[in-house]
Symmetry: C2
Subunit: 394 residues, 2 copies
DNA sequence: AAACTTTGTTTATTCACTAGACAAACTATT
DNA sequence: AATAGTTTGTCTAGTGAATAAACAAAGTTT
């Protein structure tokens, strides 16, 4: 059955609009909200009083007069509830507890290697229990849990495939919901990262954003017309396996010449070996040790390698820019550690080769949330969901 | 100022919903509309009576009883107005006159070569005048004009760049609006084609569609979540310049290894010359003569060439499938003439190399509107616009 | 001190939708 | 043939959310 429109929908939408306006422009008066939204003053008054009853907003007190009665300033009450966001990586678990504005209250990170689903799940329970215990006393408590995973997640929240974790058809969402009796969102890490940047990071003011998450592989999250685009089954964003060289390197996806073989962390490590770049004595060859080498020792080979990778990143991003005409590209995840050396060649490549019209007003940024985009993104899902549900319920 | 929600919006949306339901399921009774939409019977009655007053729908007469009073069947009145759709190609002008359901009443095609903007404009006036003269007498007359062009069109309808026509910054929309005093839509041909297929063609039942328009170059139109995605400035869809070979052929876009150099009509012609494939005596080397060669003479070289091109087309489409997870791919425009030989290698390539999850429920179709997608798409814009405006006005 | 401004509440009104009654027109059963 | 039940479509009364406008409160400006 199609969506029908009635007064309930109207009210819910207007209430959301009022709340969003207050969140964005706080502190703000009722009169100003009415002006900005175009709603009648009376309507705003009535919706505001409901929101105050629900404790979602507070009256801060009188503000500055602008030549008449002093306004009563309103504030989004970000402390009525807390969200848990978890970035479940290939070899780490990053958990954060945030207020309703995405401010991080507590965070914790643990590392592991090559452990089974069951073992990771144990650590996940510990993480959630820990974060829960850190939540201050408040009216709504923990309002939801979001989890970002490096894999393909169906629209129903099932993890269909996470190759680097060796997971297949994992029903994590149901398990978490059952154990904690809270709303749970599971999402691909790149999609979550894109959403995090849109909500709290570099993408706040943009509508069409391409978030390129570069770590071991490359994942892409798309914000189109201001909303996360997920594709017909929720699998969009596998740009990492875009062919950029016809007879290129073999990829485990079955194809060859895939972009992520040339422009990701795995590409960096492969090339470092080929070029015989050695990290400082006793250290393993990793992205971090290479960054150290470039940063502290100013190793010209390491720097040249990063510049090369920047060029390849730029090449793939150019393809994306031509295809989508986004207004912003955000490069995020672990690769941001090498921003200093990647950025010049990357930007140069895009400006040289992207179609000129597509460069109009194009922003190219690195993530400002760096390694926290995903965790913040899934926390944002939980928050959105809570506010949505809360507004409907009365 | 943000969108506010009030009863006017509710009414407009519900009226649209009722009209869409009638269009889709005609002939249909008021009771059935109420059931399908979830609206109250009374509400439907009142909206239907308005639509009848506006002559947009008609009562057909009594239908079959299902064990009670016989229903009055309603029908969308597709003949109250007519739309003009024009596909302005590099060397041709295809004009159609359609009713409000996209049925073609009259069509006309003229060819030309290497002529100036002013000369094309003259032929355009002749075309529009001709189509106007063919419109039957009806309440609303010609309700709008749509024009599809092979170039980059801004959100405001200005043709910023049409390289194959040698056009730059052409304000065609204003000129047509001024001369005919009708609403005019100008759109990129691939975007229009995608919309045409979504509305009237192979894409009717799908939400996330990638329409690949292959003629001299390659353009792509994206239907995401059921709507045309245009990008931040309206320039999305330049997949033709996606790099698929790192050190590939030089492209006039400044880049090299662009997809359209390997998988379009220009690729076919280039390769035919390289392979010394000769068309029948006295004929020029064109896509059509090559198709004749393959079809009538069953020339193995020509067939092999088409198969090769199918492979390259499949390669680029695989990239797109992995990136977007669409539920349908539609290949359209002139290349459809070679469908017979392209299709097997193209489909094989996609099924072999696209990520397996992305193949779930994936449809790969050739256009059923073939060379008419663009003209029908722009006509559809005109129709949509008319119905929208008409519904608002009261 | 008087006049003007700005803020926020209150009241009366409007408008679209819903529920439910009802009439009309038909089918099924006795 | 009479009666009962069903389906369709209209009509009426009522609800709820928004708006316009009046008004009170609390300022500033002259």
């Amino acid at each position: 059955m199609a969506q029908t429109w009635n007064q309930h929908v109207v009210k819910k939408e207007n209430k959301t609009l009022v709340l969003e306006t207050i969140k964005e422009h706080a502190p703000i008066s009722r009169a100003d909200v009415a002006q900005r939204t175009g709603l009648n003053k009376g309507t705003v008054s009535s919706l505001v009083s409901e929101l105050i009853n629900e404790q979602l907003i507070d009256e801060l007190g009188p503000g500055e007069s602008s030549g008449g009665r002093r306004p009563v300033m309103l504030l989004f009450n970000q402390l009525v509830g807390y969200a848990i966001g978890i970035d479940l990586g290939v070899n780490y678990l990053l958990g954060i507890l945030t207020d309703l504005n995405g401010n991080i209250i507590t965070e914790k990170k643990i590392n592991y290697e090559n452990i089974s689903y069951e073992e990771i799940r144990e650590r996940l329970w510990d993480m959630i229990d820990f974060l829960k215990s850190k939540a201050p006393d408040c009216p709504y408590g923990i309002i939801g849990i979001g989890i970002g995973v490096p894999g393909i997640v169906s629209n129903e929240g099932e993890i269909l495939l996470a190759p680097n974790l060796n997971w297949k058809r994992i029903q994590l969402k149901e398990e978490v919901e059952k154990k904690y009796n809270l709303p749970v969102t599971i999402e691909n890490e790149a999609n979550a990262g894109a959403y995090g940047e849109k909500k709290f990071g570099a993408g706040k003011d943009f509508q069409d954003i391409v978030y390129v998450s570069v770590s071991y592989g490359i994942g892409v999250g798309l914000i189109l017309n201001g909303n996360l685009y997920k594709g017909s089954h929720g699998f969009s964003g596998e740009f990492g396996h875009m062919t950029i060289e016809l007879k290129g390197l073999d990829c485990r996806c079955g194809n060859n010449g895939c972009w992520e073989l040339y422009a990701s962390e795995q590409a960096i490590l492969r090339r470092a070996k080929e070029l015989k770049i050695q990290p400082n004595k006793g250290e393993e060859l990793t992205l971090d040790t290479l960054v150290q080498l470039a940063d502290q020792a100013e190793d010209p080979n390491a720097i040249a390698l990063f510049e090369e990778i920047g060029e390849y990143l730029g090449l793939g991003i150019t393809n994306i820019v031509n295809s989508f005409n986004p207004d912003q590209i955000i490069i995020g995840n672990r690769i941001t550690a090498a921003k200093k050396w990647l950025q010049p060649t990357l930007i140069d490549r895009i400006y040289s080769y992207a179609l000129k019209f597509h460069q109009t007003d194009l922003q190219i940024n690195f993530s400002i949330l760096t390694t926290h985009s995903t965790a913040l993104g899934v926390a944002a899902f939980a928050i959105e969901n809570f506010l949505e549900v809360d507004l409907i319920k009365k």
